[in-house]
């Protein structure tokens, strides 16, 4: 008989490139498919969220000014790192009730999705830009640019794939992110943070919290330094209040209703454009 005692891991939030416990000291238990508590997770507070936004804001200028090529490489790097830890993710999903086959499929699609968006990093601009033939002696062009800090409330279905399908397009478009992991199945989100941590993303560019949307959605949607918010939950009341709060600073709102992230419709450059602004520049033509 093996007498060695396993090391049980404790899980933290991921803010500004560091793993830290919630300032509130609160945690919540996660039960496995047998109903046994095997893991505790941090229950992030409003203050944790505000910290995350502060660092996400700081990271905007650095991340958005990376070259498109570099942003693509970093997304690809995340895919590489995830591929290397595939087994762990499948196991974690499986442990919390997702069948082995489904878990395998989810992790594989997640990796492919990262590669998909890595490829878009230096291409969507050309597709959605325009040189505008104005009727005066001016050179005039329009290009997509990042919006800033995007707050994302992840879906419960496909906890890993949902999270990555929302983060990747916003991130590749030059935005920084504060993301609340799936409430029901948050473990892989925090493990994914470890993948991010090993993939050369700048500190603060992606922040991942665990906790409850009933508590945090209000703060996600009303924070004045957040530019856009994404929600795809089924709670229509909550969706409405998120959108009402968002109007306080004219946030860009994206409510992705019943999107199946497992299929190809769960990915497109239009998701990148949801987190982009069009900027138009004029200059006279003359001597």
């Amino acid at each position: 008989m093996n007498s060695r005692i396993d090391i049980q891991k404790t899980y933290k939030l991921y803010i500004n490139g560091k793993f830290s416990r919630t300032e509130s000291g609160r945690y919540f238990p996660l039960k496995d498919s047998q109903g046994k508590t095997t893991v505790n997770l941090c229950q992030a507070s409003r203050k944790d969220f505000r910290e995350a936004v502060k660092f996400a804001r700081k990271a905007v200028s650095g991340w958005s000014s990376r070259t498109a090529y570099n942003r693509g490489q970093i997304l690809y790097r995340i895919a590489e790192t995830l591929e290397g830890r595939k087994k762990q993710f499948i196991q974690e999903l499986n442990h919390f009730g997702i069948t082995k086959n489904n878990a395998t499929q989810e992790v594989e699609i997640t990796i492919d999705r990262l590669v998909y968006y890595a490829g878009w990093a230096d291409k969507y601009q050309a597709l959605f830009s325009s040189v505008n033939p104005v009727a005066s002696a001016h050179y005039n062009f329009s290009v997509p640019e990042y919006q800033g800090v995007i707050a994302i409330i992840s879906p419960n279905d496909n906890p890993l794939l949902g999270l990555v399908s929302l983060i990747a397009p916003a991130f590749v478009g030059g935005n920084t992110i504060v993301c609340l992991a799936s409430e029901k199945n948050p473990l892989t989100a925090i493990t994914f943070a470890e993948v991010l941590h090993a993939s050369d993303i700048p500190n603060g560019a992606i922040n991942i919290l665990t906790g409850f949307s009933s508590e945090l959605a209000e703060h996600f949607s009303s924070h004045k330094d957040v530019n856009g918010i994404v929600y795809c939950g089924e709670n229509l009341e909550l969706n409405k209040s998120i959108q009402e709060n968002a109007s306080e600073n004219v946030k860009r709102i994206h409510y992705y209703d019943k999107i199946n992230w497992l299929i190809n419709k769960g990915q497109s450059p239009y998701f990148i454009m949801d987190h982009s602004e069009i900027k138009t520049t004029w200059h006279p033509i003359g001597s």
Partner: protein, 484 residues
């Protein structure tokens, strides 16, 4: 309108004739292709802000009227417009453009009378741009399959559109043209102080035989507007106006399926570097803030001048301000017309006073203003802090806040330090510096070595609290389609 100006311009009066225009005594609502009496039974006056004299009266649309307009738009969508081959849709929009062009002078004169803007601007900018907008989007109607990579575009249904008083007909064109091109039908509400060119447009739509209900134009104040916003059978809301009202609308639309675009306020930074062509920059500053009495959401209302040329720029600016001719909007020499309404004038006076109270130094053009009507002299306020109201808040009048800076990074920081993000301007002879600035400024439209230029092919719209969505260009199609 009298042909004599009672203020000193140094020029003989050169008034545009009002002979060829026809303004009816009253305009009912334009619904289902007909002018029909409002069910509210009420009318309100629209006046000439340069004389305070009544021009006409327009109807107040109540809930029943809004319902009728939306129903008529819905029926037209279902039975006519969505079924019409796109190339035929396109021809109707071309018709609007051509007839509007033909009647341009009439529209220009009425625009200046109803809104107070100089005839030179309504004649050379507002109306020709409105025409161009219809002409541009007409051509998109049968080419939408090329506009959205990998996707198919479908119309949304009924678009509710609420427009402001600063560019009345032009804003109507910005709203109606892309909506129709993408296959939608329209319920449009012009602003309560400037309804006349919209009602003239309604007459024009009858003349070109646009199928009834495809465009419905109803009048009223904010009350009517919110009834459009909240109407359950509308698929899309397009609003241009203040950020305050935009937020109310966004909140009101929370949790609904309606798509929306908001073109809201601005507080554009206009940056002048020491290596700029100073004389041209001064013209740019003047055009940036005094165009249309400063009633422009993208006006260059925050001037940032590099310290070493500040004295020269400001002195030249003041000299130039003294040559501006303020007065009769219908006079072809007029540079600055009337403030659009008494309410707006009050607001401009109040906020300018606050600038003075906060320690700002005021300079105003020497010109005299007419006795009747609403007027405000071109004004420059210096010695203001970044936190001062005249630097932070949109004034929407001919008032320019002036600050100085030393370095590129400092001015970018200052320029972006506002909740707004509609437009910005930069003057320098260095190309690399232009792109550094325009790349880092958080605004939707950036003018380099020019300012306040508009074109139907060029997308317009803001970042941050200046709104969302674009109007104009290929990007201006997105708000009016559903992609599948």
């Amino acid at each position: 309108m009298t042909n004599q100006t009672d203020f000193i311009t140094g020029y003989s009066p050169a008034p545009e004739s009002t002979n060829l225009i026809e303004i009816k005594e009253r305009y009912p609502l334009f619904i289902k292709g007909k002018f029909s009496e409002p069910q509210s039974g009420k009318y309100f006056s629209t006046i000439n802000p340069a004389t305070e004299k009544k021009l006409s009266e327009v109807a107040v649309a109540n809930q029943a009227d809004v319902d009728f307009a939306v129903k008529s738009a819905r029926n037209a969508y279902k039975n006519v417009w969505s079924k019409m081959p796109p190339k035929e849709r396109s021809k109707y929009i071309y018709r609007i453009a051509r007839v509007l062009q033909e009647r341009g002078r009439e529209f220009a004169v009425i625009e200046s009378m109803d809104g107070g803007k100089p005839i030179r601007e309504s004649r050379d900018i507002d109306i020709p741009l409105a025409v161009a907008h219809f002409f541009y989007y007409a051509g998109w109607a049968d080419k939408l399959e090329y506009a959205f990579p990998g996707r198919k575009a479908n119309g949304l249904g009924v678009a509710g559109q609420i427009i402001p008083w600063n560019f009345p007909l032009l804003m109507a064109a910005w709203k109606i043209a892309p909506a129709l091109a993408c296959g939608n039908t329209v319920v449009l509400k012009p602003a309560e102080t400037t309804p006349l060119t919209a009602m003239k447009l309604a007459e024009l739509l009858q003349d070109i035989d646009l199928p009834p209900g495809v465009v419905n134009i109803i009048t009223g104040a904010g009350d009517t507007g919110i009834k459009i916003v909240d109407h359950p059978d509308i698929n899309k809301i397009a609003f241009t106006g203040s950020t305050d009202v935009g937020k109310i609308i966004q909140k009101s639309l929370a949790g609904t399926q309606k798509k929306y675009t908001l073109e809201l306020g601005g507080k554009a930074a206009h940056i002048i570097f020491d290596d700029a062509a100073i004389n041209q920059a001064v013209e740019g500053i003047i055009n940036g803030i005094f165009f249309n009495q400063g009633h422009v959401c993208c006006a260059g209302s925050r001037l940032y001048v590099q310290e070493c040329v500040a004295e020269e720029v400001i002195s030249k600016l003041k000299d130039r301000m003294d040559t501006l001719i303020i007065g009769d909007p219908l006079d072809k020499n007029t540079d600055i017309g009337a403030i659009n309404s008494k309410m707006q004038l009050k607001k401009i006076i109040e906020i300018t006073q606050s600038g003075k109270d906060e320690g700002g130094v005021l300079f105003q053009s020497k010109c005299t203003t007419p006795k009747s009507g609403y007027w405000f002299k071109p004004t420059l306020i210096s010695n203001v802090a970044q936190s001062s109201r005249v630097v932070q808040e949109e004034i929407f009048g001919p008032v320019l806040a002036v600050q100085t800076f030393r370095t590129v990074d400092e001015v970018i920081e200052k320029a972006n330090n506002t909740p707004y993000g509609l437009s910005g301007g930069v003057w320098t002879d260095k190309g690399a510096k232009i792109f550094k600035i325009t790349k880092q400024m958080r605004a939707g439209i950036l003018w380099a070595n020019t300012f306040n230029k508009f074109d139907p092919t060029s997308p317009f719209g803001g970042f941050k609290e200046s709104g969302m969505g674009r109007e104009g260009g290929i990007h201006g199609l997105y708000p009016y389609v559903e992609l599948s």
